[in-house]
């Protein structure tokens, strides 16, 4: 198909702001959304910091229609629904403005562990009580089952389904077209938007609500990532803990939130006089097929995803004017990603501004790629490229222009956003001025 695909709206729920404008302002100010964990008692954990969403639940629930739907929403699903509603409003696309069968939803979701703390607490308490009642001190499943069933609202169990975020978005927007949930963890948000691009290019949809959501600031996920040695332990200085590309980096900061963009087929967008934010120009997707957590040292998979994206977009490396990096701040990723950028962009890599907004908002896991694409859209439209904050002394092996510490005035005409997940799953998106 030769028609272009437009991004016409963006909605975000993030630790530095909810909604496009607040997020943009936070990025420009180099604001950190990292702080002590408040969502649960984390005393004694090696990592006691996270990037929590700054908006109260009630404010997010105000975006849900009908309000009753909140009952079967996990925290991640609530984020997704709020972000989708914000995106739709941002796009100015009225309900009924499209044939429902041609409106699709693709959502990245399903990060590590349950996002519903109430359900988790009920399960754990039932197990504890069952062990005590049984007298063995071990998990007595029949007793657990009786206690759990007696204490659990059936609706609560629905909140554990990762595909419900996309389902709730579809219900609220009468989106009766294709509906997909992408679970490639750190890569999911980017991949979901890329798959949304393909749906329109294949002629299967005119409008796609695409993005990602995650709410991993919960004991299971924080402990899980902590045990794997991936999280920063800079508990005494949370705002300085997420430091991608910096010599003193010690891991990522878990974040939560959601990002959704509205994608539209060009002719459809023109016919309704849509305001276009950017062209979604290209998408690359690869897998390292190497190891579960280690990336290929030669960055082959990541580099190929970037190259494939450039080819798909018809962009030469020298035409790339900003890269929103995956930039988690782990010892390994930042070096590997630097190599991937050098391999795919060649000599231009040294002069293209590359920044990691995870330095500010933490790692939003399945939502990361989505909110980071929105950061790239901000760069195209708002006259600045967001900084990599906390960059005091770059790692010797990280020698690109990472836009240290302060947002820089710039007017990039095109940008890339990269995401690389555990399991070696790599994705890259390209956007271009319309």
């Amino acid at each position: 198909m030769t028609e272009r695909v437009a991004v016409t709206g963006a909605g975000v729920v993030t630790p530095i702001g909810c909604g496009y404008e607040a997020y943009r302002d936070g990025l420009r100010a180099g604001q950190s959304g990292c702080g002590p964990i408040t969502r649960f008692d984390c005393a004694g954990l090696d990592t006691r910091i996270a990037a929590e969403v700054c908006e109260a639940d009630a404010a997010l629930e105000a975006w849900v229609e009908p309000r009753k739907a909140v009952k079967t929403m996990s925290r991640a699903a609530l984020f997704a629904v709020a972000a989708a509603a914000m995106a739709r409003r941002h796009a100015g696309l009225e309900r009924g403005g499209a044939d429902p069968a041609r409106v699709a939803v693709v959502m990245g979701a399903g990060g590590m562990g349950p996002t519903d703390l109430d359900l988790l607490a009920t399960q754990v308490q039932a197990a504890i009580d069952a062990a005590r009642d049984g007298g063995t001190g071990a998990w007595d499943i029949p007793t657990f089952a009786r206690l759990f069933a007696g204490r659990t609202n059936p609706l609560a169990t629905l909140r554990g389904l990762p595909n419900l975020a996309a389902a709730h978005v579809a219900i609220q927007h009468d989106a009766r077209g294709p509906n997909a949930t992408i679970t490639t963890a750190c890569c999911a948000g980017t991949q979901a938007i890329g798959e949304g691009l393909r749906l329109i290019q294949r002629g299967d949809a005119d409008v796609v609500l695409a993005g990602g959501t995650d709410a991993a600031v919960n004991p299971v996920a924080v402990l899980g990532f902590s045990l794997l040695g991936t999280l920063s332990r800079r508990n005494d200085e949370p705002a300085r803990a997420s430091r991608p590309f910096d010599r003193g980096r010690d891991g990522f900061v878990v974040g939560e939130g959601a990002g959704v963009v509205v994608l539209e087929r060009e002719a459809f967008a023109r016919a309704r006089g849509a305001r276009v934010l950017a062209e979604l120009a290209g998408y690359g997707l690869t897998c390292d097929a190497y190891r579960i957590t280690d990336e290929r040292p030669d960055a082959d998979g990541a580099a190929r995803a970037i190259s494939a994206c450039l080819a798909d977009a018809g962009l030469a490396p020298r035409e790339v004017e900003y890269v929103n990096a995956h930039g988690t701040g782990t010892r390994m990723n930042d070096v590997t990603e630097t190599r991937a950028l050098v391999r795919s962009l060649g000599p231009c890599a040294g002069v293209i501004p590359v920044s990691s907004t995870k330095s500010m908002i933490g790692h939003l896991l399945a939502a990361a790629g989505a909110v980071e694409l929105v950061a790239a859209i901000v760069a195209l439209r708002e006259g600045f490229v967001p900084p990599t904050i906390n960059l005091e002394a770059p790692d010797m092996e990280c020698d690109l222009d990472y836009v240290p510490n302060v947002a820089r005035p710039a007017t990039p005409a095109s940008a890339l956003s990269t995401s690389f997940g555990f399991g070696g799953q790599n994705a890259c998106l390209a956007i271009r001025r319309w």
């Binding site: 009908p66 009753k68 909140v70 009952k71 079967t72 007696g150 609202n153 059936p154 609706l155 629905l158």
Partner: protein, 102 residues
């Protein structure tokens, strides 16, 4: 509304049922008037009735298998067309029946 005033922990059953219905359907208490149809007028769907039975269990301190609600409907509202016929009075009658069980 029922003729007699059944009390649960000192609260009138009809008021308790109205409050629970309002919580389940996330509507203002004032919207739960006699004769309002939970499905047709207040947007109740199947999972909301599971929610309702669970909250009745908690409020009445009883165990109420969901199947008993389904059998109650079959017995008291035969012939289907439930969307217009399940009202707060129906829920109250079910709750009273459960309370009366030995």
């Amino acid at each position: 509304m029922s003729g007699d005033t059944t009390l649960v922990n000192g609260r009138a059953l009809d008021a308790l049922v109205r409050e629970i219905v309002a919580e389940v359907l996330v509507v203002p208490a004032e919207a739960v008037v006699p004769g309002v149809a939970l499905m047709r007028d207040l947007g109740a769907e199947s999972i909301d009735f599971m929610d309702l039975v669970f909250r009745l269990e908690e409020a009445l301190e009883l165990e109420i298998p969901y199947a008993r609600w389904q059998r109650f409907l079959e017995a008291h509202l035969p012939g289907g067309q439930l969307a217009a016929r399940i009202t707060p009075a129906v829920v109250e009658a079910f709750a009273a029946a459960e309370l009366a069980r030995p």
